[in-house]
Amino acid sequence: MSRHFKWMPAAAASLVAAVPALAHHSFAMFDMRQTLTLQGTVKEFQWTNPHCFVQLLVPTPDSMQEWSVELHSPGDMYRHGWRPGTFKPGDKVTLMVHPDRDGTKGGLFVSAIAANGQLMQMPGGAGGPKP
């Protein structure tokens, strides 16, 4: 397995951190047993309703993959300090995600290590909702 994709057992905290996503849809689409670590470059941060998305370019040995990582709505993220400019194109980041169960290059945001080394978590998580 590439060093860019790391699978880890999911913690209960990250499982329930996803609950607010159900404002729009169920999160049964994500595999909560798995946490995938993606190291890459931000292509775009979509600060949009009903969900924000990070488009992340992840290099692999033979290609560049684009991942769509889903977050909460702007209103939910804003309450915890997130802003439209929290991620900028070109930022080098590490994202922890629960991957889609259907194999698409997508997942639910769990946490991130930003370019400046700051740990960022999803609002509502047991670990404290601070980006």
């Binding site: 499982l15 609950v19 169920s26």
Partner: protein, 282 residues
């Protein structure tokens, strides 16, 4: 000279309505006696979710063994009192339980983006965040998803039957008993409270359901709404519920939400997925 006369005439015409809109001392006196409900509010469930309290309550339980999160979602919905079984009459108890059996095991997909009344009183998510604007004539409850409750307190009655039809929010009139707003709502659309694709349908109401609420502040940061639902077509007796709303302290303004701006979660073969991003506009 003629032009100057016309300008004065126009000014007088404009000044009349402006003067009429100014608050009279009597109206200001009434307004001063009403409670101040300014600020942002959300349901207790939503506050628990946002603060991480709900997540902490599940710590140690671990992820479901099959990786499905539906059980967590159902555990969350189970905390909604409004999704409990109402005091149905015998016929509707039978029909409701049959519907529930049919819904059990159904894959959860996409939820409705607006909840309607009365589900919005028990919203499990911040979608039910609201602002309340109190005036002598009307109290407006403005929800994050754009829904609005208009509660007229100017002494009017509900529209006559020919002028009324069922809607998601129903028709509300109210009056003040001291600092409690007593709300009377009718003409709420018939059907279950939750969207049909949900495994927890919620109470099924007829269009004849009659709602009475007593909404008030119980302390600086808490509001309480005591709701009674009478539905002679479906209930054996009125159903009494109570909801609390907490002041939102970590947002300085209402930030709206909607499901159409950038919906990237289509349902494919019965399951929600993530669609690729749309091409950016030039």
């Amino acid at each position: 000279m003629r032009i100057r006369s016309l300008l004065w005439f126009a000014l007088i015409l404009l000044a009349g309505p402006i003067h009429a809109q100014q608050s009279s001392p009597a109206r200001l006196h009434v307004l001063a006696a009403l409670p101040d409900w300014t600020g942002l509010w959300e349901t207790e469930l939503s506050a628990q979710l946002d603060s991480g309290e709900f997540a902490r309550s599940l710590e140690g339980s671990g992820p479901p063994p099959d990786g499905e999160s539906a059980s967590v979602e159902l555990a969350f919905f189970a905390r909604m009192t409004i999704l409990g079984e109402p005091p149905y009459n015998a016929e509707w108890q039978r029909r409701s339980r049959a519907d529930l059996e049919h819904a059990r095991g159904r894959p959860i997909t996409v939820y409705a983006c607006s909840m309607g009344f009365p589900l919005v009183l028990d919203s499990p998510t911040p979608e039910g965040m609201f602002e309340a604007l109190v005036t002598p004539e009307e109290t407006l409850i403005l929800y994050r998803d754009g829904e609005v409750r208009h509660i007229y307190t100017d002494g009017r009655s509900h529209p006559k039957p020919d002028d009324l039809w069922p809607t998601e929010m129903g028709d509300s009139v109210g009056h003040w008993q001291a600092r409690t707003l007593v709300i009377d709502t009718i003409a709420r659309k018939a059907g279950t409270m939750m969207p049909p694709q949900m495994p927890v349908p919620g109470a099924s109401l007829s269009a004849e359901a009659h709602f009475t609420e007593r909404l008030r502040m119980i302390d600086r940061d808490t509001m309480q709404d005591d709701l009674t639902i009478a539905d002679s077509q479906r209930f054996a007796h009125p159903w009494q519920l109570s909801f609390r709303f907490k002041r939102v302290t970590n947002a300085d303004r209402m930030i709206g939400t909607n499901c159409t701006e950038n919906d990237r979660n289509p349902v494919v073969d019965g399951h929600v997925t993530i669609a690729p991003p749309k091409e950016s506009a030039p």
